[in-house]
Amino acid sequence: MNSPKNDQGNADSGPAGIPETELVQHTRNGNVEAFEELLNRHDKSSFDVPLDDVLPAFEENGHIAVDVADWSPQTNDPALQEETRSVIQAAVDRLDKKYQTVFILRDIEGFSTEETAQILEMGIPAIKSRLHRARLSLRKELANYFERAESA
């Protein structure tokens, strides 16, 4: 396995020029350098989306105030698969580090919530809270994408 620090010139994905999701794949293959790069990069690439932007609007009594489209059946459309993958990759890359790390371990790598808590030396409630936040952000980006695809 080559070092991830080779010349894939992607200007906006950080100094090493490789998207984080690719680094995750290298990490999965046991490449420690890729994992270190992943860790080093977190502080530079993250931003935090306000919670209101990823939740539906609620009325004062807590009742949902908008219609929510169920686009999950559309996700089986083979014509959208490659683009969906890019949308997911970009969304995960943009997650704030503290949500991203939990999301990658729990939902992509498939560690249990308890294992993720042990790896990060955090409590389970904190893991679940970050996981929820990450899933909400990803859901929102996919919702934007599929709702656009539907109306196109």
Partner: protein
């Protein structure tokens, strides 16, 4: 009684199976009665599954998994 807002807050608890039986029954009743919440749950759950499907390549051999796990613990434990 769950409001929609509480239901959405509790999605991870529900999917993790961390609800007492009675709470779970109320949650599921809400999902039956409330289309928007049901659609939110479906798309929330689908998002995780899609991400895993899209971003995982092949399964890690167990020995690498152990190494990654130890490495993660050593690296990340210090930062938390």
């Amino acid at each position: 009684m769950f409001t929609c807002q509480e239901v959405i807050q509790a999605l991870t608890d529900y999917l993790e199976g961390d609800m007492a039986a009675e709470e779970k029954a109320v949650f599921e009743q809400h999902m039956t009665d409330c289309g928007p919440c049901r659609h939110f749950l479906n798309t929330y759950e689908t998002s995780s599954k899609l991400a895993r499907h899209a971003l995982e390549t092949e399964s890690i051999p167990p020995e690498v998994q152990t190494r990654v796990r130890n490495f993660l613990k050593a690296k990340l434990g210090l930062n938390q």
